[in-house]
Symmetry: D3
Subunit: 272 residues, 6 copies
């Protein structure tokens, strides 16, 4: 059950209107790694989780925070759009190239569809979609997905930070970037916790008996390109990260096996 | 430049036709975490990479292997479909409920669109899409994306392993699962390598000065749900994973700030 | 700001597993008119709203309830999947056509991708997407969108009600259907309220001066098909609903105007 | 059966080229609430309709008109693009910032893909899709969908009206806006007609026995946010719109029920 | 302008209900190469055409026919669904595996969303989308797109023909297959006509001066795989089809050029 | 099996940065007819092919080349972005309208998401998707799809050629355009080869007995629009292209048949 409180976690007040920047902010609202993605990802992980207790409480706890981040960004976008020129003709687009340039770089649906409001899309106007999220039921895999999401999100947020001088916008970004710092750390800590508590280990899923896999290629780096330096990395020699094997380096793909003969399905499919 | 060799990395020969299973295999061919995704993800990461040398050589090296994995799965799917009933009326669907059940669970486009061939879709028929992949230009973030992809992929592959008794299919899965073991380890090793070589560290991106973020909330777990046990985790106390802070636990969200007043855009947007 | 409480608005406990029905329930979770749609739609309408007070409080109030409906359905789906056969070979699919039939009708990603968990998709596996929602900034238009959404949603819920005999599932549907009854009434009441309070009237948007439109066709039904009975409806004669015109019936489209001559763009587009 | 006549319902002749505006017009051609949407929506409703006579004749009659609206907008877009700079280098983009600004705001596929022609996309380049439309088989629900579509469409059209001074474009918009006026009224009138003729009533679907729903919550406004004014609306007290209940106001969500324990699916899904 | 006539080009009356087959028919209604695709493709080509006269009249002429094909298939699908079991519990799914198998293979949205009506989707439930169609403004290119569409469509239709014994359904397919025969021939004839009339020739676009391209590779087959027989084809020796060159066969890709050094963008993108 | 070589087929070095042009180039990388499409299309056709030998060897041979074209374009895009202004505030956007105009026309995700790298999307930011490709199992149909793809691709490439004066970019385009010339010719030659070798003929699929289709309409042009000149084309009289019939011209659609009565599905779908 979700309850809404008409407050924000942090102040949301831009210094001035900026419709082009409003469009850019859509990326971290409705993009692949935007706040809708993490909110929905954590929600589905919590709903599908098989273990009660600290992990589940934590995932619920952070998930609800992220819905509030969506709200702050939507509010900021609406504020950035409020007084900005959005193509109404008396904005003097025709006569002033600077204004025209600004309007040309806006999200056109901000004006036509939303009447100067936020939208559930990314910075190029692609609608948010359910296929952005990950909830496999395996916490080790999913917490890596989450760590990645917070890393990508923080990378995007700091890029956005450098794309504006607006103190109000930067003030919000400073807050969100700090939360991304925490959330990166949080998922990496949760991964450590999973390992320490024995809930899951590597390789994921760890319960599948490795005797069932082709163990002769389980720790081989095989080089399918012609670069010569891939053998210098941590992944090409020494003990594997999961502690269950030894990395080796194979400079060229071994001879393969012949392809099976082409198929001949029922003639009523009219293949040739 | 890519060169093709008419060989496969591993034998692809099912014991018997199975159109329903062919559909299931589409998930690891054309799904969110299927082989097309990793092949394309590694390719774009390599093309966008800023550092020559071992990382780039390695990403090119594994990327080309993954295109070969796509090929093996496509070949397997075509073989599974070759002699399977796919709805041609003389398949006797009408009179035999078992056959009808099988056909009901197939990918209908395998028959109508591809004439018993593989398709660039997942197990529910959703076309593969570019938004599945991640290539940010930041290797630490992207290698976490890659580790996650190989974990999700291995989880799916072992689930599929338990959904068939076909020795030929299992033989291929054993190989692919082993490569997933390597590739999980490989990306986690590459993360270690990045840290050791000083290319990147945590939080990602590490060069952004943390003095610019709201450091008072950089290491706080804030509990937006009412579960009581989130404070027991590794993420709620002790040193942070990035070594730059100390985790703390905040049992309830602090009082927020008031929402800004609603916006009043230009009247010619005819909002109400 | 959203806060989560680890309680549900209503009991969620199926009598028995049913993976096929779990798939069907996805429609009202992640479909065009599912609970994610109304939750997100009301959230964006609230964030974009221009008027403080009763409308905004109400939209926030109902929006948060809908996120809880998403949660109840996700929970129900996970429960329906918990002990259901999902294609693991020892489920005896091969030998029992009834089991095979059940598995054939499931959402395959429930098993392979989510490990018997709920997913952000509809009953045919299409991911939820942002383009399902509507938030124009004009409350009269949007409240009609909302009334429609609750009507479509209730129609789907009652259809689903007849597709199961499970008392636990029906118990949840009875609750959700009742809330749909309220929410239909709520939006229709809000439309009345908007009219009575003078915030907006018909045609939407009412502030645009009708003198600017081609008033000679503003209240004409023009018959572009050859059915003879469209003139018998309320829309073909008598006062218009907005009270600003008189309906008339035009039995055949009047003669049109010639198409403009085809365009001849720059030759370097190499059109023919 | 559809017949085409090489005439337009209204004149389509812009005063001057304007590629940026051509892009904006794509919204009402190929957007969520563009003319393709209403044309296809009414067509599918007619094909799926269960009652012969005035409703079906009317839906067919308006549906065919909408295909002609698609045609007028496509024609207008091609005309606006005909002589407009679209990025050909001799357009002097490099030296004239005004020209560059204009080209920067165009739909790039208008030039590269369509050679200065119209496209089946919205103003941000998203392809039109079947999931925009609604045809449930229940006329009361669907006519509300239609009223909403015409309201959203008219809101967008009047916004577009203010984004150009071109007399030829405005001339077409005046016509389309007037038709939207009619079509809004038409669907609202059809809703009245349905009620009067007893075909359907509220809540939709009205034949489902309300005794089967949880009637104790059928007319309650429950406040899941902390705004204090939602109780002041028409939806919080007095008779419900469907005439079957009495609205009441519940200031806070009642205590919920405990979530069921987390699920434990088959271990071969390798959840954690 | 489009006018609708309440008649069908051909009889649409199945012998018996068949919901699984109704789903299959969706492929040629709303799939990549279904009737919506050709109807919309021809419409956009006509609207964007630069030449008045026979080509444009022909494209308008066939386009309108295709909208009628959409209508016939939608009508057929609704008829196939009318009396078919679609999951209502008294359909006795639980007790009869044959019925269960049938329902398991249906389009679930046919029942839940459309109330036993047709939908704008393909056989796997993917919504039709604007990106299926092609209208480049170059008739030679587009007529090849059209020939391909009619070929793919006819291949799918004859596959569907073999998937049913229903005389009524086959009766309609015989008609549609014959029209596909004509339409294949029509586009191939139109290609001949374009060449004969000098409107366009090969390679497309023919007006681009070939002196501007790297003519040394304009007619070389370069073999990037290791198969040995590609040199035996018509494409590897002899005069080229456009009559402007001579095919040659290059058995192995020539040495390439080095990749440029990796890029180093602005440090504020925080690449690694 | 695919092997990667760290070389390019042709030099990739722009004379200067140009982020707007980088966005335009995305069309031929990740658009409907971009290099990803042909690479994946040829790969799937090869994997699904039923005939060993020259056709299969050729399709594998060209497919691998196309993956290298993807690589060259991705590399070019990254180079064009390397030093281009992308919205970092010190780019002086605010004070220089020319710079602002340039940034306004860029792909915003190039900066925020990819850190000045290439992306798997088209020029309007739509992700590449599997539904762009065609692989039916029928070579005659598919080779027409391929010819069309290379024609559309060459049309787009020459349009792009005229949108830049950059010698380095044009140098690459000259090469790609020449390869498109070859590939157009190659598929048309392969079509001839198929006919000559008797593998397939017209109409596609040729093995379906035409006696099963409604031969009375197999070669009729039926005019569903009111243009008068469609009868003047090659498609309206004389022998058909497949040599199996005689074209005829039908000036007006013959009288159709009545629509069947509307359906009345189970009342529990609550249609009206
Ligand atoms: Ca966040
Ligand atoms: Ca792999
Ligand atoms: Ca609800
Ligand atoms: Ca209209
Ligand atoms: Ca057709
Ligand atoms: Ca190419």
């Amino acid at each position: 059950m979700f309850l809404h409180r008409q407050e924000l976690q942090h102040k949301v007040k831009p210094s001035k209107p900026d419709a082009v920047y409003a469009r850019k902010l859509q990326e971290v609202l409705g993009g692949q790694y935007g706040e809708i993605s993490v909110a929905m990802q954590y929600a589905f992980q919590a709903w599908n989780m098989h273990i009660p207790g600290k992990y589940r409480d934590m995932v619920f706890g952070i998930g609800a925070e992220e819905f509030g981040h969506v709200e702050m960004l939507a509010t900021m976008i609406a504020q950035l759009l409020e007084k900005a020129p959005l193509g109404i003709t008396s904005d003097a687009v025709q006569s002033d190239p600077t204004v025209a340039a600004v309007v040309g770089g806006t999200d056109i649906q901000h004006a036509i569809v939303a009447g100067a409001g936020a939208r559930p899309v990314d910075s190029m106007g692609n609608p948010w979609q359910g296929s952005y999220i990950t909830a496999s039921g395996n916490l080790m895999a999913d917490f890596h997905a989450n760590a990645n999401a917070e890393m990508q999100g923080r990378v995007q947020a700091v890029r956005l930070y450098h794309m504006t001088d607006d103190h109000g916008v930067r003030d919000l970004l400073k807050f969100l970037i700090a939360r991304d710092t925490m959330h990166q750390n949080q998922w990496l800590a949760a991964i450590e916790d999973l390992k320490e508590s024995g809930v899951e280990s590597l390789p994921v899923p760890s319960n599948f008996p490795q005797s069932q896999e082709d163990t002769d290629v389980s720790y081989q780096y095989i080089n399918f390109s012609d670069g010569g330096q891939a053998g210098d990395g941590r992944w090409a020699s020494g003990p594997s990260i999961d502690g269950k094997g030894e990395f080796s380096y194979v400079a060229e793909p071994p001879a393969g096996v012949p392809m099976p003969p082409p198929t001949h399905p029922d003639s009523r499919f009219y293949g040739t």
